[in-house]
């Protein structure tokens, strides 16, 4: 909690160790853990043992690798091969419709082609626009929703379930559903806007305002993801912090600013990171709703087109690697903000 330490007035680490101790106390006498153990741990925690021997560290490292082994094996077996293969293909001229070419190695020529491909550049620009708009809106809406459903009120369970519904409907179905909603003849969007007097005639929204349509649909579909993760983050906050802050006379806004925000910041950033990765690779939604027309072609749609429609695997793979590179850079920026304090120092 590197940042918490610097915030005025709230001594996070102190509260945390207090909290740990009080946690131990709370569980004394509960089933499962013998009292003696708890007391031992409590005392040990208060002492904060330091200076382990190198042997202990080695044992810890070995245990860590064992615990990570299943994940690394699965990832290594299934995920590494496709990734390396895509890189390799991107260095070849490989149009499956021209097997007689022998698919020669051409170095970085496919990448050079991207630099002169106006369509790829426009697609990247659009994808950035789409990613920024949706991730920001989803984060704001998701955060607000999480704060609300974190309150205790009657009907909270129902509200929680209801809010997850958009995320639960398969994308292929919900994109189709929204396409109908935006229809110029019988779409609900027109019906509702007309009834509340916002428009005076039905419009073909998917060609008049395609960006708006796509953003609305994507935000509707994925803000529950943000809400659920941020809610989990909120649930992890120790109540004791709020209690002591309240005793100090901190108001709602102050508590949000100095306790909630710094403590869930990292959760929000991690959730945003994954949303960004997804949004930048957006495919299904656009392919069903506009199929990339009216300037809404995402770079993933273009890569898919090059590969699967044009069978140009070399260039398509280069576009896939480009997506990878862009997303990697975005991730590195996020890493800066998430900070090293997520991981213990070596």
């Amino acid at each position: 909690m590197g940042h918490g330490r610097k915030r005025e007035g709230v001594a996070v680490p102190q509260v945390y160790s207090d909290f740990l101790i009080c946690e131990c106390d709370m569980h004394r006498g509960r089933k499962g853990l013998p009292d003696d153990d708890i007391i031992k741990w409590r005392n040990a925690a208060m002492k904060k043992s330091r200076g382990e021997t190198s042997q202990l560290l080695r044992r810890e490292a070995r245990a860590a690798w064992i615990m990570m082994a299943p994940a690394l094996i699965v990832l290594g077996v299934v995920a590494v091969y496709p990734v390396l293969r895509t890189f390799w293909i991107s260095l070849h001229e490989m149009n499956l419709k021209r097997p007689q070419s022998g698919f020669p190695f051409i170095g970085l020529a496919n990448y050079a082609k991207i630099l002169t491909d106006v369509r790829a550049q426009q697609d990247i620009l659009f994808t950035f626009k789409f990613t920024i708009a949706t991730v920001l809106l989803e984060t704001l809406l998701g955060f607000a929703t999480a704060l609300v459903i974190n309150q205790s009120f009657r009907g909270r369970g129902i509200a929680r379930a209801a809010i997850l519904i958009p995320w639960a409907i398969p994308t292929s179905v919900s994109s189709m559903m929204w396409k109908f909603i935006y229809n110029d003849q019988y779409g609900l969007f027109n019906d509702i806007l007309m009834k509340i007097g916002l428009i005076d005639g039905y419009k073909a929204w998917l060609t008049s305002d395609p960006f708006l349509c796509l953003v609305i649909t994507d935000v509707w579909k994925t803000f529950p993801y943000m809400a659920l993760l941020i809610l989990a983050g909120l649930q992890m906050l120790p109540l004791e912090l709020y209690e002591s802050a309240m005793l100090d006379g901190a108001g709602v806004i102050k508590r949000f600013r100095y306790i909630t925000l710094p403590l869930v910041k990292r959760t929000v950033l991690v959730a945003m990171l994954f949303r960004t990765l997804d949004a930048f690779r957006v495919f299904d939604l656009i392919s069903v709703m506009t199929s990339g027309s009216v300037g809404t072609e995402s770079i993933a749609i273009y890569a898919q087109k090059q590969m699967m429609s044009f069978l140009n695997f070399g260039y398509g793979s280069a576009l896939a690697v480009l997506i990878f590179a862009v997303v990697l850079s975005i991730s590195l920026i996020y890493m800066k903000f998430i900070g090293g304090d997520m991981l213990p120092s070596d």
């Binding site: 082994a69 299943p70 021209r98 073909a204 060609t207 199929s291 429609s309």
Partner: protein, 413 residues
């Protein structure tokens, strides 16, 4: 503990389905899409019951043409032999043939056999002078119209030109919202509809050498026409419509006419779904000027054989597609599915005519039908048309500019 996790993981990996046991007859797998799913399953039952040496299994994919194409591509790249025979959309055959994925069929189907089929359907299965696919069934678009409205307007002769239909629409003075309903979204449906506008304006998509020529005068005029009707004689949302949406407008009684595939006849005339049932007629697509020959866009599926399978499999596969594309089977298929057959003689079969009376008028339509350009680069061409023509249809660019852009793009390959 970690051990336990690994053991659990391995156990899960082993929950494998039993492999299909190899049996005496040759096992073939026929891949097709759900669009013709039910009738095809019935056909396969028939085949399996009458052929002891071959057992055909079905592999059904979603109806979406892209799904099917992409799934096949994945399997072909992998040199997969899990599919022996596939039913492929006519526009993809050149592409697959050029990639070396399809077996040649010339030996089994000599010229005198091919003469029984509608010429356009055979041409669609050829690439570089060789035959790679046999037509299974074909398809053509038709121009559906409201017989009751024609009567109401006091028109006795069905119009043949765009102007003629607009005249009828104007005579109706608002009794119907739109004169036309066609497809203008960025999709293959729009490409078909657009090709027809071009052909019926007297234009062509390929020049004399077979190269795309998208910015000729006639193509520009046709695109202008297609764009100018939108928002005036056709719904504003036409630029978002594929077949379903445009059919819906017609089914709900909002349009005088509708351009769509012939098989929609049954739906338009089904009272449970259509509020215009019993008031629907079908005719040739309109042309720009009196006396021109109308052309409809051809579609349909052809069957082809995976080149990677063994010779034994291939021999069985050839026997199967010979049966599937025979006159008799095509007739059965037509009766089961209302899909227009590729064998000419079926159109004049008495039993078929009794079941599908409009085939008398439909046969000339399909005989005058034209295929979309057959080229390994069809996907690129279609993509260029979709994006650029769509810009003209939405009014983002004048038709001439949009088509010049398209021409630059397609000249690159």
């Amino acid at each position: 503990m970690t051990k336990k996790i690994i053991v659990a993981l391995l156990a899960l990996l082993l929950v494998a389905m039993a492999a299909v046991a190899g049996a005496e007859p040759v096992q073939l797998t026929f891949a097709f899409d759900q669009g013709v799913g039910e009738p095809t399953l019935k056909l396969l039952e028939q085949f399996n019951a009458t052929h002891e040496n071959i057992q055909v299994n079905s592999y059904v994919l979603p109806q979406d043409a892209n799904n099917l194409h992409d799934d096949f591509v994945n399997k072909m790249i992998a040199g997969d032999t899990s599919i022996d025979v596939m039913a492929l959309d006519v526009v993809y055959i050149s592409e697959f043939a050029s990639a070396g994925w399809l077996a040649e069929l010339d030996e089994t189907f000599p010229a005198d056999v091919l003469a029984n089929y509608i010429p356009g359907t055979i041409a669609a299965g050829q690439w570089d002078g060789k035959l790679y696919a046999m037509p299974w069934f074909t398809n053509a678009s038709m121009f559906f119209y409201r017989t009751d409205l024609l009567e109401e307007a006091g028109v006795t002769e069905v119009p043949t030109t765009y102007e003629g239909w607009i005249e009828v629409y104007e005579k109706l003075e608002g009794k119907v919202d739109y004169a036309f309903s066609y497809q203008g979204s960025s999709s293959e449906a729009m490409v078909c509809s657009w090709c027809e506008f071009v052909w019926n304006e007297g234009g062509e998509i390929l020049d004399a050498e077979g190269k795309p020529a998208l910015n000729t005068e006639a193509v520009i005029a046709a695109t202008d026409r297609m764009a100018s009707y939108i928002g005036k004689y056709a719904p504003e949302g036409t630029t978002t419509y594929a077949e379903t949406e445009s059919q819906q407008v017609f089914q709900e009684g909002k349009a005088l006419t509708c351009r769509t595939w012939s098989g929609t006849w049954n739906i338009f005339n089904n009272e449970a779904e259509s509020s215009v049932a019993g008031k629907v007629g079908a005719t040739n697509l309109p042309v720009a000027a009196e006396g021109m020959t109308p052309h409809a866009c051809l579609g349909g599926l052809s069957v082809c054989i995976n080149k990677a399978i063994s010779d034994e499999q291939k021999a069985a596969a050839l026997e199967f597609i010979t049966w599937l594309t025979s006159e008799e089977t095509e007739k059965t298929m037509t009766l089961l599915s209302a899909q227009p057959p590729a064998v000419s003689a079926v159109y004049s079969d008495a039993e078929v005519l009794e079941a599908v009376p409009f085939y008398t008028e439909f046969f000339p339509i399909i005989s005058n039908g034209k295929g979309r350009p057959a080229s390994p680069y069809y996907a690129e061409l279609s993509d260029a048309i979709q994006r650029n023509v769509h810009q003209a249809l939405t009014g983002a660019l004048p038709a001439a500019d949009a088509l010049n852009n398209a021409q630059v793009e397609v000249s690159a390959f």
